[in-house]
Symmetry: C2
Amino acid sequence: MEEKTNKNKVSTEPYRGVRDFYPEDMAIQNYIFSVMRKTAESFGYSEYSASVLEYADLYKAKSGDEIVNSQTYTFKDRGDREVSLRPEITPTVARMVAAKLKEFSFPLRWYSIPNLFRYENPQKGRTREHWQLNVDIFGVKNINADVEVISMASSIMRNFGLKDSDFEIKINSRKILNYVLNDLFFLSKEDAYKVSKIIDKKSKINSNDFRSMIQEIIPERSTEFVELLNSRNFQEFISKFPKDAQLNEEVTEVKEVLEKLEKLGITNAIFAQDIIRGFDYYTGIVFEVFDKSRDNTRSVFGGGRYDELLAIFDKEKVPAVGFGMGDVVIKDILETYNLLPKINSISQLHICVMNEESIGYAQDLAQKLRENKINTTVDYSGKKVGDQIKYADKNKIPYVIVIGEEEVKTGKLKIKELSSGTETEVTEDKISSFINKK
Amino acid sequence: MEEKTNKNKVSTEPYRGVRDFYPEDMAIQNYIFSVMRKTAESFGYSEYSASVLEYADLYKAKSGDEIVNSQTYTFKDRGDREVSLRPEITPTVARMVAAKLKEFSFPLRWYSIPNLFRYENPQKGRTREHWQLNVDIFGVKNINADVEVISMASSIMRNFGLKDSDFEIKINSRKILNYVLNDLFFLSKEDAYKVSKIIDKKSKINSNDFRSMIQEIIPERSTEFVELLNSRNFQEFISKFPKDAQLNEEVTEVKEVLEKLEKLGITNAIFAQDIIRGFDYYTGIVFEVFDKSRDNTRSVFGGGRYDELLAIFDKEKVPAVGFGMGDVVIKDILETYNLLPKINSISQLHICVMNEESIGYAQDLAQKLRENKINTTVDYSGKKVGDQIKYADKNKIPYVIVIGEEEVKTGKLKIKELSSGTETEVTEDKISSFINKK
């Protein structure tokens, strides 16, 4: 049935799968971003940014196929250029670094909190647009960069109020994984790619499904493969390799990362041979953070080393390590652990007026208080004073002052704290120190 | 000629007409946003946000035609929904208010700093993507809301360090303008629309072009019209109206706005009959801020009252006043007046290491300092200490500490201020207070 009201009525719904941020949602978002920012900056990382619009070519070179082909928003602009809404920011930051390679003094420590778009079916924790902290260090070959980035991931979780026992940092080596796929199981490039996509899904599917998916690709040695992937720890995992496996360096690397993290007091980092990360550009250590509460069993975020990505711009390679951490997932976790802050009103003081004539005085007083860093609103509603105070209360504004003839004449004001009902006499010049003291 | 190097080489250029924000650009952007944020919040305004993707229908209802038809990025998503990258945020905020009309206690004071897209030919000051502070107050019919919003515009300019003599706030009334077009010159709806678009361009074109453009639409009375539009002040302008013009309320409104602004100490607000603003949804007072320096003669930003916009959602009308202020224009002006701040390094302290064995100690020290709110970086380059210090200097990091065998053993450290070359002996626990004191 057609709607009968207004044929031209425009919908008040946001586009499917994206979010409106009303002030209370935005306050939460700003809190999450501020913890991310402060932590990244405490490690000396500088913020960068770029447009959400990029040439589509940027994503065709080295992302995971699934993402480019079926999940990206791609369209032609009016000049027939093929453009995409960025599905991730790593290609962008690699592009920016490649463009000014000669001007920089490496290493670069950079972060950003971009919005990213994926054409997915919206569901809990999966939106078509999300924001993601992205942290990258460019120009360090040795594993100290990996350790730094993983320890920043740990610091962010701690700075949100999470305990080390609430989450786990799982670490793996793409190099060892490549050895397994290429040298131990002799998989073709295509089969290796398919198997790596199955490993990436391992934590989300049940073990029988995993087994049968592997069986399809490696029919003869699937048991051996599944057992290897189910190793209980690093020792057991590497003990299954043949004696002549040339893996000394790679094994040492994993051991050193784990040892260094432990020395920094990070007690919840473990090896996990089934961590692979979706993107194809990783080349070394990869890691993923898992929430251990019952409500959120899935991976929270992760990252790794990608030393080859700048090659797509035909420039010299720059070693790089980074991670991304999405806003939707972290908000879910903070809700689970009851770690979201209480939201206060932006206005600290609401000035109510007895009559039209008092408004000028109120506006003038508000102007002075704003200059003294007190966020101040004036009531122009023309309603009764009682209703003006109710408005302040409903909007959680902590203080009110009522201005009438008497106040305009004498400059003697009463400030009322709404939570307690206490009234205190103040002069204009004492208001800001009174509120700041509280 | 085809490029010879790498056929698959991906461009390092951003998409045409948008900007990359390298850390030094981002620091400027963050400074500009922080002044906007602090000022808006001092007036008790709360931040909101929404996705840059909206259903295209939202813009078909009430924007200026030019914007919707020729300048919007519009495409179909994979589900055949027509979507746009928002060219402005007013329709979005109106949508959000309309969606929760019954839940709010009015007035609402809201702000946002969204990115906006327009398909324009890129040139100085005109990019395809820009950011814009948007401020709106919903639910106040009387002109105190107009006064508040205009005085916030003034406060932002002042908080950027601009003097009242550097800029001018021009104020007009759409109601009076409508009277001129409809009742004084009897223009048809189409002609009135065309004339208003010409008036909007008046400050950007020369007076002869303006005259001939008007002549084309109002051939018989063009001289009269142009003279009216060239009035030197409000008195002269309204003196040209017939005696029976029913404009008392509208004239009083303009006078009151100017008087109230003057009482608040805003000395640079004047009436200007040729201010109209591009968007069609304005219904009352409109205003525009002009930079008075020679380098930037054009309008900086503006806004006005739009009491009818929520009608497009088939909801009751909510009176609204707001303005938008773009990042590109304000950055130009701050450059002109030399008001952009000096950018400091994010890292405050760079820890250099004499050898591989000192890195563990350095990482541990860095971790402690970060917890004490000192932004700290550690050097993993393996280069000579002299080169590590040069890196800090080049990246404007103010302090360095060098860690070697001796320091690891004794815990006695020397902190060096790079600008002066002064070295001071400190123990670990004194570093943060030493840096904070400086």
